[in-house]
Each structure stands twice: as structure tokens, then as C-alpha cells.
């Protein structure tokens, strides 16, 4: 590898890191505005706007993330006296680095570079899925270490809760992905995307998709599974003792992981950058303007499709956060071990049976699989619903006092 290639790689990595952090910044704004509208409020709309002719203001609050960043940068940086200084300082880094490096294994689109590569897929690893699973669960070290190093009982409880929760949901997450891997017959992320050109995995793997959504929400400790930072019980959870930019790093890792999880869901279940019509359009542009323009058009269109799908899933995340109250700790563990894990195993079994019995790529069995998944999920929600035991007072005639 000569130095030009290394330089190109460095620039690409810088672009990806900046894109991920920008995405995070604007996702916070997206979430705050949307959550506000869900709650009948307006949300932050003061910092900056795009002026329109006629005195109208478009996108009020467009500079809110910048204002927040400036505020966090200039806050006082306090290190607790009894904290384990170096571990305390390292923990935000532990949290944010895995969140950022998740992105290299996700194919963000398909922009062929002319020599068999893809500009929008940084690391086409043979075991891309394993990489994704490993890196997403490594992120919990940052949280656990932060809770321990702060030397604060609330932070400690938050860290312990985080590790317990992530370990519990890791299994269901991995098994739901296993169904996709069996469906596509490959561990390469771009292979899975290519296998979905005819039909997205959400149809045959509907049950896997639902399990993945729930487990990934728990994996990134987001509402309704945000027991790690349940402020009614744990003050701020693992980041109680963190302020200024160190807190911002935790915040950032949490949100980048959330977007990355949505991006993984798009890759695995919603066809990645595939959208009917992109191939034809880019072929037309190739015919008119040459192969470079055609490739660029294809890359941009598939990136756009990918981002639109990710945004839709992010909308779903915000919607669920606005709706569902936080679960109790025993409910959380119950859902993970007693419901999601057997369901995921059942999904693997169904996928295996269908894979053996029916030929690869047959449409009707795939739809049948989706329908079976839907039925199983509906049945589970009916059967596993917590039984409402009738509470009451039983009146007992007491012995008359003598």
C-alpha cells in the first residue's frame, strides 16, 4: 500500500467520523423537535434559521447543536477527588470509540470505485456481522468502567445495570441476526444487502426484525429500557459524575450507537441502499455521461435511500420514546430471557426448516415465513401479557375480644 492509498484512507476515515458526529448532532435536534411535537410543545427553535422571502423562517433552531456544543465545551471540568483519575478520564473514550467504529462495517450505499471496491463501504470484512456484534457490545465497557471509576454508588449501580442488561439482550440480538445470516447465506454485510435485491429481509424475517428492534433498543439502553440512567432512581446513572465535554462524549456514544443500530437494521432487514429504480437510473446516466458519473449517481442515490430508511427507523425510535414508559428491572430481565430469547430460537428453527424444505429464493415460502412470524408475535403478546391478578381485601371475621 503506497502513501497515496494511505492518505486516501485517512481522508475517508476523517469524513466518516465527521459525518457520524454531525449525524449525532442533528439527530439530537431531530429528536428534541419531534419529541416536543409529540408532547404538544414546540421544542428548541431559536438558535438560527434559514430566512425565506416574506420574513418567514425555515428550520428554526438549526444551529442548536452548535450552541449546545459550545456550551458543553466551556463548562467547568470537574474531576471528583475520590475518583480513579485515569480510568475516570479514559471511560468516555472507551464509550465513544466503539460507537464510531461500528460504522466502518456498514455498507452505506453502493458507489463502485472502478476497481471492485465501494467508496461507501469502508471495511468489507468476511465476518462483518460478527464485527458489528462484537463492537456494539464492547461499548458497554465504557459505561461500566465509568460507573466504577466515578466512585459513586449511583454511578456504580448504573454501570452494573448496563452490563447486566447488555449481556441479557446480546443473545436475542445475535440470534435474530443469525436468522438473517441463514436467510442470506453469508456473514458479509454487503452480501446480505445484495441478497435482498429481490425481496427485503423484513418479509421472511419479520419476527427477527421485531426481535432485533426490541433487543437493539435495549442494547443502546434507550427508552423504554433506559434503566441505566433512570433519573428517578439513580440521579443520572453512570454519567452522574461526568460534566462538560466528558458528558458530551457519553451522550454522543449513546446516540451514535442508536443511529448505528438503526443503520444495521436497515442493512439487515430493509435492503440497505437498495431501492427499486436506482439501478435503471444509474444505467441511464452511465449511458449518457460515462461510467464515472453513473457510479457517482448510483452511490449518491443509494446513500440517499439508506439515509431515508435510517431516518424512518430513527423516527420510530423517537416515537416509541414518546409513548412507552420505562419498564421495571424484573420486567426487563423477564422480557430478555423468557420471551425474546425463545422467540429468537424459534425464528432460527423456522428459518432453518424453510431453508431446507423450500428452494432458495422462492417467493411464496418467504411470504409464508413472514406470516408465520407475525402470527407467532401476536400469539406471544397475547399469551405473555402479564395476568392481572385481582387485588382486593378479604374480610375475615375476627374472634370477638373477650
Amino acid at each position: 500500500m503506497d502513501w497515496i492509498a494511505i492518505l486516501i484512507l485517512l481522508v475517508r476515515c476523517l469524513v466518516l467520523a465527521l459525518a457520524a458526529t454531525t449525524l449525532f448532532a442533528y439527530f439530537t435536534l431531530f429528536e428534541r423537535r419531534l419529541l416536543a411535537r409529540f408532547q404538544n410543545r414546540v421544542g428548541p427553535n431559536r438558535a438560527g434559521y434559514i430566512p425565506l422571502p416574506g420574513g418567514k423562517k425555515l428550520f428554526g433552531g438549526i444551529l442548536q447543536p452548535a450552541a449546545d456544543a459550545v456550551k458543553l465545551f466551556f463548562k467547568e471540568d470537574v474531576i471528583p477527588t475520590l475518583a480513579d483519575r485515569w480510568v475516570y478520564l479514559m471511560a468516555p473514550g472507551f464509550a465513544v470509540v466503539p460507537a464510531l467504529i461500528i460504522w466502518v462495517a456498514i455498507p452505506l450505499g453502493n458507489w463502485p470505485d472502478g476497481s471492485g471496491g465501494n467508496w461507501l463501504h469502508y471495511a468489507p470484512i468476511d465476518v462483518g456481522i460478527l464485527y458489528l456484534l462484537a463492537v456494539t457490545s464492547i461499548g458497554v465497557y465504557g459505561i461500566a468502567v465509568a460507573g466504577w471509576a466515578s466512585n459513586n454508588k449511583y454511578s456504580m449501580l448504573g454501570g452494573i445495570r448496563a452490563s447486566a442488561q447488555v449481556i441479557s439482550y446480546e443473545l436475542a440480538l445475535g440470534l435474530s441476526i443469525l436468522g438473517v445470516v441463514m436467510q442470506s447465506g453469508t456473514l458479509r454485510t454487503e452480501g446480505i444487502v445484495n441478497a435482498q435485491i429481490g425481496m427485503w429481509n423484513i418479509v421472511p424475517q419479520f419476527m427477527g426484525f421485531i426481535i432485533f428492534l426490541i433487543a437493539s433498543t435495549a442494547e443502546v439502553v434507550r427508552s423504554p429500557f433506559d434503566l441505566v440512567e433512570a433519573e428517578q432512581e439513580l440521579v443520572g446513572g453512570y454519567n452522574t459524575e461526568y460534566g462538560s465535554m466528558k458528558f458530551a462524549l457519553f451522550f454522543m456514544s449513546e446516540y451514535i450507537k442508536l443511529i448505528a443500530m438503526n443503520a444495521i437494521a436497515v442493512t439487515l432487514f430493509l435492503g440497505g441502499g437498495n431501492l427499486p429504480g436506482i439501478e435503471q437510473a444509474s444505467a441511464a446516466i452511465t449511458a449518457g455521461y460515462g461510467i464515472t458519473a453513473g457510479n457517482a449517481a448510483m452511490g449518491l442515490m443509494s446513500l440517499g435511500a439508506f439515509l431515508i430508511k435510517t431516518t424512518l427507523l430513527s423516527f420510530l425510535s423517537v416515537w416509541i420514546r414518546a409513548t412507552v414508559p420505562r419498564v421495571r428491572y424484573d420486567q426487563l430481565m423477564n422480557l430478555g430471557w423468557v420471551i425474546l430469547l425463545p422467540l429468537a430460537l424459534l425464528n432460527v428453527i423456522i428459518t432453518a426448516v424453510f431453508g431446507v424444505v423450500f428452494p432458495v429464493g422462492a417467493v411464496v415460502p418467504q411470504i409464508a415465513m413472514g406470516v408465520i412470524g407475525l402470527i407467532v408475535i401476536v400469539l406471544t403478546t397475547v399469551l405473555a401479557a402479564p395476568k392481572r391478578t385481582k387485588r382486593g381485601v378479604t374480610l375475615v371475621r375476627s374472634q370477638a375480644r373477650n
Binding site: 411535537r37 404538544n40 410543545r41 416509541i320 412507552v324 403478546t381 397475547v382 402479564p386
Partner: protein
């Protein structure tokens, strides 16, 4: 369980299309109630004379000692107010004022009225003191006839010594 989830999601989704209840304050100001007690104003009579006769009853009634009145004798040729005296200086410290409205109750000529302006903020304590020029309404904003008792005094000016007794 699924039904409850769908019900909850559809409820929040409905709220997405409702108009937010937020009042965007600096642009939109909610009207206050008629009896709201905000910033004071010193009123005038219909003919432009000041209603304040410098009696200092408001300063006496004030529980937080926020009002300063320094009266002076009216010039009979060009009186500031009906009657013998007027307020040469009239100051209210808005940081001390608790907007209780006792001054309004104490005033015999309805000169001081707590109006609806509530945006009172300052960069330093000095500018929290509102003097007479800030409190007094414009000459053409007066209302009401001068009551007979003040007109009577106007006809029969008493020497200063009589007031001091």
C-alpha cells in the same frame, strides 16, 4: 398488550399533528387579566394636570418602602396639579416593590395605578429606580374631571404655615 401498544402509539401520533400549546413569548404575549398588578403609572386629569398631589400616602402605605415622594408647592400661576402641592420627585424602586397594590388603595386622587406592563428587568440596580418622568403618562392621556374638593382648594389657597400645623 399489542392492542395497548398500538393505542399508545396512535395517541402520540395524533398529537404530532396538533398545534403546540406553547406561547412563543417574545413574539406572542398572552394578555393579562384586567386586575393584573404590573408596572405603576401616574395618571393625569382630562385637562392634562397631574393627579398626584404629593400627599405621600402611597409611600406611607408601601410595606416594602419602595416609594419616595418629595412634595413641593404648586406655582399658582402655572400649577402642576390641582390643589396646593404636587410631587416634585416621585420614585419607585422596582426591585423593592412587591406589587401588592396598597399604594393604589391609599391614593386619594387615583393618581397611581398598577398597569399591565410586566417586563421589568434591568442590567444594574440604579436603573431599577423609576422616576417621575418614566412613570407619568403623556399629557394627552388624562381622564376624568377634577373633583370639587380639589377645585375648592384651588379657589382658596392657604398659606404654607397653615399646612405645617
Amino acid at each position: 398488550m399489542l392492542g395497548a401498544l398500538i393505542k399508545g402509539l396512535s395517541t402520540t401520533f395524533k398529537y404530532l399533528f396538533k398545534k403546540p400549546v406553547t406561547v412563543e413569548y417574545p413574539e406572542v404575549k398572552r394578555p393579562v387579566r384586567e386586575r393584573f398588578r404590573g408596572r405603576h403609572e401616574l395618571k393625569r386629569f382630562e385637562n392634562g394636570m397631574e393627579r398626584c398631589i404629593g400627599c405621600s400616602l402611597c409611600a406611607a402605605a408601601c410595606p416594602s418602602d419602595a416609594i419616595l415622594v418629595i412634595p413641593a408647592e404648586n406655582n399658582p400661576a402655572a400649577p402642576n396639579s390641582p390643589g396646593e402641592r404636587y410631587a416634585a420627585r416621585y420614585e419607585i424602586n422596582m426591585l423593592r416593590c412587591i406589587f401588592c397594590g396598597y399604594c393604589e388603595d391609599a391614593c386619594p386622587t387615583n393618581a397611581i395605578v398598577l398597569e399591565h406592563q410586566y417586563e421589568l428587568s434591568f442590567y444594574d440596580r440604579k436603573s431599577s429606580i423609576y422616576d417621575k418622568s418614566m412613570l407619568l403618562v403623556a399629557v394627552d392621556k388624562g381622564h376624568g374631571e377634577i373633583p370639587p374638593v380639589l377645585q375648592q382648594l384651588n379657589r382658596r389657597p392657604s398659606p404654607p404655615a397653615q399646612i405645617d400645623l
